[in-house]
Point group: C2
Chain length 308, copies 2
């Protein structure tokens, strides 16, 4: 029988709101994290791709993580992104996450230099893990070739699991390639695989995945959670079809600008829609039309009245 | 008549040597920088792509820059790389470079999120420049689509020059695409263009470029300097042909591992050959064969006896 996974369920890469001065806004950030945990999420992955993490400075990332914990959110249910192009900075972020009690970290490969060798990637991860040197560390590899360009090849997972069996425990697969997810599940039973989009949630669960870490969980974790809680039930396929249909509508728009526009709209807080360069907010009319489309096609709306 | 450029000539993106502990080695770094300035370079670009800058931490980059200056190297002849994915970190590095007196900075666009809009890139650079808020700042844009994937589109140069005429003064073009370099030279007279490889040195100078910033200047700046100093002379084409032939041999090997192996060999200092993950050093036999090929085909060797 498989051991209980360290993380499972519906995890949101928490959006990072900004204030009028362009700095991250900790109050909005905490509110959003609390709302996510009260509305479908089983855990949080702050500082993912969707969080604009790579548009944040090192210090900003560490301060925001402490803000969440100081506000009372449970760090054991957090898997912050701690990847960086350099071993040095990745180790600083990872050490910090372990020090503040995070249950895991989601770690990009070094993504500036392209076509690294498998040996080079292995040494990168091994050096970060050795530098942190802490058995509490649980690493989730982050495979997102459409953005990072540098991916996590299948054999690398095996090498890292063999070398660090109690540390390298899972992977987020944002390749959008089901055959890659299936190959990982087949090759490494017990490895905690999270498809990077809810499109693969039900198929993933049936094949041994443990949940999903998905951008859209920022606005629709509740619907995903119903699938996760009832995946062996009679309605699972119908629920998945609905969730997939909405995902497809959402991803026909620029993802992060739309998610922020949706929250800004339903919170009645226009400042929420801001992004940091190189991203720009959706033009207001486009956002309005997209929000209307989501409501018309999928009956989608959000309620923020009854916060936890 | 055109104003004197802020930088010109042969500029090396200074290789970063590491010690046995994997940390950058300031002594080897300073020695190499001094040797470069005594052997053909007109200026230095520490923390470029070839410097493994993106494999260094923020603090390491700032400390190494101070090491060079403390050793007596002239900061006005330095154009350190200060790009980062976030405005926050790019501003920290850029502010530091200005504070220690650097003559310019070489700034990558934010390179994690792909296909940014021109507006988003404009705001990124504008925000970094505004954050630093110092008229001494001279920015060289860094166009290297083969690595960063995110490039500097031609119209963006025009917008930034218009908004910051005394700050955004030049560009390093590592596209390997002469038609792009020519388009920049034609569109923006007086803009300080550096082809990112000496293959384009003579053609560049004839078309208005001001020199080259090239990886291989770490081992062969002297030959490039002869072209730069005599580009209107009768031997220029012959010298360029020789330099181009050697460049083509060099780039048939993994660039940074080879450059470090060459220096390790001629300095009799094997530790020089180390790179940081995700890069790995060339196997010793491969390095030996490559160094022999360079000697046989191009009469190439280095002398470190008579340092300045």
């Amino acid at each position: 029988m498989a051991a209980k996974p360290h993380f499972s369920g519906i995890i949101a890469p928490v959006l990072t709101p900004f204030g009028e001065d362009g700095a991250p806004d900790p109050d909005r950030f905490i509110d959003h994290a609390e709302w996510l945990m009260a509305n479908g999420c089983t855990a949080l992955a702050p500082f993912g791709t969707t969080s604009e993490a790579n548009s944040l400075g090192l210090d900003e990332r560490m301060e925001l993580l402490e803000d969440l914990i100081d506000a009372g959110l449970d760090p054991t249910l957090m898997m912050p992104g701690t990847g960086a192009c350099s071993i040095t900075d990745a180790a600083i972020l990872t050490q910090h996450a372990v020090d503040v009690g995070c249950g895991g970290v989601l770690m990009l490969p070094p993504f500036y230099y392209k076509n690294p060798s498998e040996e080079g990637l292995f040494r990168f991860y091994a050096d970060v893990i050795d530098e942190v040197g802490d058995d509490r560390l649980k690493v989730y590899l982050y495979h997102i070739p459409p953005v990072a360009q540098v991916g996590i090849p299948l054999p690398l997972i095996g090498r890292l699991r063999k070398e660090f069996p109690n540390i390298v425990v899972g992977l987020k697969d944002s390749s959008g390639d089901w055959s890659n997810m299936k190959a990982i599940l087949d090759a490494y039973p017990g490895f905690e695989l999270f498809p990077g989009a809810e499109l693969y949630l039900l198929d993933g669960l049936r094949a041994g995945a443990v949940g999903t870490i998905s951008a859209t969980a920022n606005i629709s974790a509740a619907a995903m959670r119903k699938i996760y809680d009832n995946w062996q039930g009679p309605d699972a396929d119908r629920m998945q079809a609905d969730v997939s249909a909405m995902r497809k509508t959402i991803q026909s728009y620029p993802m992060m600008p739309l998610l922020k526009a949706v929250i800004a709209h339903y919170r009645g807080d226009p400042g929420w829609a801001e992004l940091r360069p190189p991203f720009t907010a959706m033009p207001e009319a486009d956002a309005k039309a997209a929000i209307q489309t989501l409501a018309d096609l999928h009956g989608f709306k959000l309620e923020f009245g009854a916060e936890a």
